[in-house]
């Protein structure tokens, strides 16, 4: 990835964003699972990013780590998946 499309600000250079972590697959239950059992899939990485150099929104980014392709960016609001 070199750009991410912020839902508020539109496509922006990656340097405006900060990565926090990969997150567990949707449906993971329990704190332990959510904290430690992250997705390790060569085709799909689910990640939290913040638009620190822009609107400061927290984003849920789905990415293909093998190809570098960004599949989807959405706003994080409320309970994490």
């Amino acid at each position: 990835v070199t750009r991410l499309a912020c839902p508020f600000c539109g496509p922006r250079e990656l340097r405006e964003f900060e990565f926090r972590s990969t997150v567990a697959a949707a449906g993971s239950e329990g704190e332990f699972e959510r904290t430690y059992l992250r997705v390790a899939d060569t085709g799909l990485s689910i990640e939290h990013w913040q638009h620190v150099g822009g609107c400061r929104a927290w984003l849920l980014v789905r990415r293909n780590p093998s190809s570098g392709e960004t599949l989807d960016v959405e706003l994080l609001a409320g309970e994490a998946p």
Binding site: R3, R20, F32, Y36, G68, A77, G78
Partner: protein, 957 residues
Amino acid sequence: MSARPPRRGTRLEAGSLSFTFDGRHYVGQPGDTAASALLANGVRLMGRSVKYRRPRGLLGAGPEEPNALFGVGEPPHQIPNVPATQLALRAGLTLRSQNRWPSLRFDLASLLQAGGGFFSAGFYYKTFMWPSWRSYEPLIRRLAGLGAAPLACELPPPAIEHLACDVLVTGAGPAGLAAARAAARAGASVVLCESEPACGGELEFERGSIDGQDCDAWLADTLAELGRRGARVLTSTTVVADNHGEIIAHAEPRGLPGDNTVYRICPRAMVMAAGTLERPIVFTNNDLPGVMLLGAAERYLARYGAAVGRELVLFANHDRVYASARRLLAGGMRVRAIVDTRRAGDAADDDAVRRLRSDLGAAGVEILDGCAVTAAEGGRGVRAARIAPLLGGGSERRIRCDTILVSGGWSPAPHAGLPGGGANGRLELADAIADGHAAGARAAADCGARGHAGAPPLARGDPPPRLAAFARSPCSLADEKRQFIDLQNDVTVADLRVALAEGFTDIEHVKRYTTLGIGTEQGRSSAVVGAAILAELRGESPAAVGTSRSRPPYQPVTMRSIAGFRVGDAVMVTRRTPLHDWHATHGGMLEPMGLWMRPRYYQANGASAFEAAVAEARRVRAHGGIADGSTLGKLEIAGPAAAAFLDSIYLGKASTIRIGRSRYMVNLREDGMVLDDGLVLRLGEDRFLATVSSGHGTHMLAHFEHHQATRWSARGVNITDVTDAWAVIAVAGPQSRSTLGQVLAASWQQPLAQLGHMHFAAGRHADQELRVLRAGFSGELAFELHCRPDMAVRLWEELTAAGLAPYGLDALDILRVEKGYLTSSEINGQTTPYDLCMEDMVAAGNACLGRALLDRPAFHEAGRPRLVGLRALDGRSRFLAGAQLTAAAAPSQPRGYITSSVYSLTLGEWVGLALLARELASGETALTARDPLRGADTPVRVASPVHFDPSGSRMKA
């Protein structure tokens, strides 16, 4: 130095340029590269190989060059690893060969090889094991590595230009030009990058026609049309990296470091028409100076009028070698033999080739069909070629020569994008140009360009070369140690065999184990040949083996270019407190802390940092002092749900704090480790101020916001970073209250007298907002003054005038260690609240972030660390943070470590904090602080972490 007649070549201009190579003076011509100028001066030895220190000369004429890498300039500014083939000659250039010591002609380490030592793959890992790698490391480091990094840099920053376009075309040869033209005609915006100083690529050597024009006329027309259509054509610009769609192209006047431009290009589609790279053929001693690529010899002759040798043997597996031979003959070189790996019938199949062969034969060139060069002979250069028939029958020949030119076919140059032309395996002009056109039209269409790309150019040129794959000449097993595949990294066929025997079969594993295709070369001359030979050894097809992935940059790039303007002070911003200038002008020794600069101590207070800090701390305990706490992170949490929000993120209940009070609180990471600590102030019913650690401010803001975005489904909370909105002056010491009483207005007298520990009051000072919090980090009666930044210097100077001297971070550290207060040394990301003796907080706490995972059994085992105080057993000796703690029973097993240690003048001895295995924390076991790096082992004992005033009587005074 004899005067030479001027050379003539398509790249050369009249004139002369003098330069030095390894201290000797030479003269070249404007337009020369360093390689062509040295070649024209008869220099053939240009470097030594990185591992065996074998003498090496030029292999190629372009970016594929693995051997002739020079240091440019004088140390300490010398720039290493500049390929001589890519370096434009200029007057006064100072060049140095690499990988030799003491000199190029005599290299000490090459004696290793004379002693019979050829290191096989994995040699270093296997050999330097006893007694330990460390005992060999200094010597190996001296010998290892490509070139030497400059110790200083005075290069100017590069210009950086950002470009956005529809189609980026890499390579302005026939295919790239056709692609760019097609895309531009279709209406796409086009950027065309060409690494050579001029466009045209292989058109330079084509005598065919395109759309009825000769190649030069078509080139001129096409460039004119591209200009009219607004295409950007960048020459001397190499595309060096593709960062997932952002293309870094690097423009330098022919590899000359400095005075360059970095283009950051965001194209919507790419056409890769970077052409081909000629493959060598591997034979014994094929690394000797004088063994070169056939195409390189032609380029040196045509472009620079430089002859690669006098007596040539040509060795190839295709029929373009015959036309080349004729051109080299015409250039004045003597071609003694052409060795064609194919049988006579294959080569004579074509009329034109048959005619060429008979002409060459008539000119005295011996043509050896079905043969291979099996070995080169010579010391510092080729003296003869050994030639043997490939299919039995006939005996080995030895032909005297000074140069062996090899050509094993052409491979696509590795680059990113939609391939077109030679880069797509199209080696014939008509084919390549049509392919480039189609790729350009397709790329434009992918970008949504609706125009018509027009008809593909119709070209007529040389027929496609007929070729029979041939990667290496047969040889004995022993000679495989001298069949070099990767010249830059000294990888031989024998190394590949070792790798396979040891189970490294995949091409990527072979690359890493043998170093095939690493370094600046990245497989450009070796990848395909290496894959073919690996395939032979594995008994598979080259396609099944594949090539390893080459890494960016495509060509060596200076770190200066990569760094751009982000050097020195521009690497990071510097945050300055409102009192920054005051500290700087009053002897404050400023040191970076995160992005902030904070005074460690004030020079007037002692001859050394240690003395000053001890004196400052003692003065605070005796009278009082002030410190700049403005770096403290300050987050204001407001809204109807603010209290509930804080309850969900802090261990402990912020909702039970009363207005006007504050509480020491900690928060946890998701995994239960303590993240940060600080005071939380309740400003109003639905308004709080959370203070966070100085270095942590921005991180904690992001953490709070993340919590809000992920786990806080309710609304009603607003988080604002007010760090820069409030300056903080810490006032500590027994005289703090009385001094504040003198400084502040009369209206403050009563609040000051009544203010309880951890309470705060808001009011005004000199008509500006002021908040006074009774709290501190020293264990003394102490206050924090929160004021507006504009007020800070005035208030600070009023306090100093009233007799309170400033103290720095080191004194602060002494005061807090004496009291057992924690900083990031203890809250280090590896400690739970239990480890830090915060059981009460957990017990009284709530279901906050990270709380659930605190119940994991591993957090309660006997080996978990526990915060303890530490004193020297003899009450005198010094011990330092970082030392490991061991028990007498197992003196080499660390059971904990010292996190903080200071000299306490108040207590007259060293005091410290440590994280010690819980089972030893009771203090019954004798401990030693082991500090081998700093040379001392100190017997220590466990003490209370609160070394000074355990009852807290002073701060509650």
